[in-house]
């Protein structure tokens, strides 16, 4: 297998320093706290969040493991399920939450909302709400890096559903032909909205890993346990190294499980909305599957492992957790206190 960049065997965890492990755990906890807070907002503050929000709980190990290999000016281009990535980049949670709440102090002044966070100053230029289309945008950012010879690479995140879009196939083909510096992270959370991935993916239907799609573009492809941030880090590091060396793109499938439903219920105002039960239960009646994956919760799993390995003390873990909780509480207070935008601001930003 000439193009394999990693096997699914367990990586050597001693490669990661203690402070890096603590950093990774901190980011994972911050993402989880943020997402749980967004979810609670639908109940605690009905009507504050409009439209559709998509959470990344369950994706923490994939996001943090991948971004732990990032250099400071590398681009990060996720999909509309986008809360987790800027949290790792250092975007202030108060401005993120204010955006989710549609407030003037939001990252995008209330013009984007949950699906369209953007923080270009931190190399996160924005997202598309159209499934898979941002894969092309990320590939374009890699073209910029190549033309400018800037040394940057692009981390492109998208879901299993997006890998069935034409934009995926066209972009990976072009990135391979042009040897663009990009790592494609196919986050297989097992459900395309409500559809289980085995019902819609040719590789999955045949019992193959989704990263087999890389073979079609003669680029390296690997599948990794997306609940293990150290394993993700190890595999992504190889793909990132390859991109930095000018050898072109790779495709990494991080396989995990989305722990919340696809998004909040689609209701017509003034009917309230909130997160329903996960599709495994609500659609397929398969509580067993849901419980099995919940038992593999990446945040809890990583915590237990760090404690067991002596990389983190119980006290240190609690400090990280209470700090993250306080940070998110503060973000909610900030966002609730932030004013709504003035109506006439709607005509700003149409043209540059």
């Amino acid at each position: 297998m000439p193009h394999k960049i990693a096997q699914r065997s367990a990586p050597r965890k001693q490669q990661v320093r203690r402070d890096q492990l603590a950093w990774m755990y901190t980011q994972m906890v911050r993402i989880r706290e943020f997402e749980e807070s967004v979810k609670r907002t639908f109940i605690e503050h009905p009507g504050v969040i409009r439209g559709h929000s998509h959470l990344g709980d369950g994706a923490e190990a994939s996001i943090v493991g991948a971004l732990s290999t990032r250099h400071p000016t590398d681009f990060v281009m996720p999909s509309y399920r986008c809360h987790g990535y800027p949290i790792v980049l250092g975007t202030p949670l108060c401005n993120m939450m204010a955006e989710v709440f549609g407030r003037k102090d939001g990252l995008c002044h209330g013009f984007g909302g949950s699906m369209h966070l953007a923080d270009p100053a931190r190399y996160f230029p924005g997202t598309s709400g159209m499934v898979g289309q941002s894969i092309a945008h990320a590939t374009g950012a890699a073209l910029t890096a190549q033309v400018k010879n800037s040394g940057q690479i692009v981390y492109c995140f998208f879901g299993d559903g997006a890998s069935k879009q034409g934009a995926f196939f066209e972009s990976l083909n072009m990135a391979a032909v042009w040897k663009l510096p990009i790592v494609y992270v196919l986050e297989n959370n097992q459900y395309q909205a409500y559809t289980h991935f085995r019902l819609e993916d040719a590789n999955a239907a045949a019992g193959d890993r989704l990263s087999k799609k890389a073979d079609a573009f003669s680029m390296p492809g690997a599948t990794v346990d997306g609940t293990d941030p150290v394993a993700v880090r190890t595999v992504i590091a190889k793909a990132a190294k390859r991109a930095r060396a000018g050898q072109g793109p790779s495709l990494v499938e991080t396989k995990f499980y989305r722990l919340s439903a696809h998004g909040n219920l689609i209701t017509v105002p003034p009917l309230p909305t909130q997160f329903p039960e996960h599709e495994a239960v609500a659609v397929y009646g398969n509580r067993k599957e849901f419980e099995q994956w919940k038992a593999k919760d990446p945040v809890k799993g990583f915590r237990a492992r760090l404690l067991k390995d002596g990389a983190l003390s119980e006290a240190a873990a609690r400090r990280i957790e209470s700090a993250a909780h306080a940070e998110v509480e503060e973000a909610v207070e900030f966002a609730l206190a932030s004013p709504l935008p003035a109506p006439e601001e709607a005509l700003e930003y149409v043209y540059a």
Binding site: F75, M77, G106, L107, C108, H109, G110, F111, G112, H116, A118, D119, P120, P125, G126, S128, M130, Q133, I135, A136, H137, A138, T139, G140, A141, A142, L143, T144, A145, Q146, V147, K148, G166, A167, E170, S171, N173, M174, V177, W178, E348, Y349, V350, Y351, A352
Partner: protein, 325 residues
């Protein structure tokens, strides 16, 4: 000073000059820059000039991402209909990302495509689809009708910080005209009065400007003085120049190569109705018939507007009584 140039060469000259001026301008598309003998490749190298696979979604989407992060891509699409397989990127990505980011990012890119190829290309390669793009806030649409405008609008499109759809009428590709020497920029959103007149205002788009000017020449021999206005950009649309002319003449003929239903002509008619209703005694739209473009020549000629149809329309509006002063 000016020199005579072929329309296609005027576009190319603008691209070359802007690529010399700004190292962030890149140029790619299908079936171009194929060998080392390619003059653009020789001039600018293989990083900035590239051949792309037949993948419009990725070509345009990569352009969007490159524009978001600091380049100014020009995507050569050849025919406007090829954008249709990638319309999400054109309509729902490029013009939306700046707005959704609250003004934090911009998408400076040019989508270059020919349109309206009435030379026997039948139903899928001959159409005018600009009406689908002129109602998209954030997107600009330009349709140059002369070599000078072709150069000046391409220069402006490349320098613009917004996505610009640059549509050149295929039927004008080999036309010749005077082009000012050196740097030449035509502001996007400024109509041009191609011929002044006092009796009737003809607003024509793209290839139809040439036909309207020929019609105006024939009408002059019949003592009808026609003013011919070329909007040059359909988004943003220079309503003021059109309305000022219409208030002067009181008679209007709108010429659009696209089918009548939902045409640019219909949009302009609406603006005239709102802004000049008391001044206009007659208005006619000369558009393509509401049919796809057929293959065989007599069928194609029947569907598409021509000089005779414009002359006939002008004569009919002249027959209407003027609005009382």
């Amino acid at each position: 000073m000016a020199k005579e140039m072929i329309y296609a060469d005027a576009i190319a000259a603008a691209i070359v000059e802007e690529m010399q001026r700004d190292p962030n301008v890149v140029f790619y598309g299908q079936n171009m820059a194929l060998t080392e003998r390619d003059p653009m490749l020789q001039k600018f190298g293989k990083e900035r000039v590239r051949v792309a696979p037949i993948s419009e979604t990725a070509e345009i989407g990569i352009g969007v991402g490159a524009a978001l992060t600091g380049l100014r891509p020009i995507v050569e699409l050849w025919m406007s209909e090829f954008m249709l397989v990638a319309f999400d990127q054109v309509i729902n990505e490029a013009p939306r990302l700046r707005y959704m980011s609250g003004g934090q990012v911009s998408v400076p890119m040019v989508l270059k495509a020919g349109y309206g190829f009435c030379a026997g290309w039948a139903g899928q390669h001959s159409n005018c689809i600009y009406h689908t793009m002129m109602g998209i806030p954030g997107l600009k649409v330009v349709v140059p009708s002369t070599p000078a405008d072709a150069k000046g609008l391409m220069t402006a499109a490349i320098r613009d910080d917004n996505p610009v759809v640059y549509l050149h009428p295929y039927m004008l590709t080999l036309d010749k005209g005077e082009v000012p020497d050196g740097e030449y920029v035509v502001p996007i959103g400024l109509a041009d009065i191609k011929r002044t007149g006092s009796d009737v205002t003809i607003v024509a788009i793209g290839w139809m400007v040439k036909k309207a000017l020929a019609a105006a020449e024939r009408l002059a021999a019949q003592n009808i003085s026609a003013e011919v206005i070329d909007p040059r950009a359909l988004a943003p649309l220079d309503v003021a120049t059109i309305v000022n002319s219409v208030k002067k003449t009181g008679k209007v003929v709108l010429v659009d190569q696209a089918p009548r239903q939902s045409s640019a002509a219909a949009v302009i008619a609406g603006e005239i109705a709102e802004h000049a209703v008391g001044s206009v005694s007659a208005l006619r739209m000369v558009t393509a018939l509401d049919a796809p473009i057929p293959y065989s020549e007599p069928l194609e000629n029947y569907v598409v507007p021509n000089e005779d149809k414009i002359v006939e329309a002008v004569r009919s509006v002249m027959a209407q009584e003027a609005v009382a002063a």
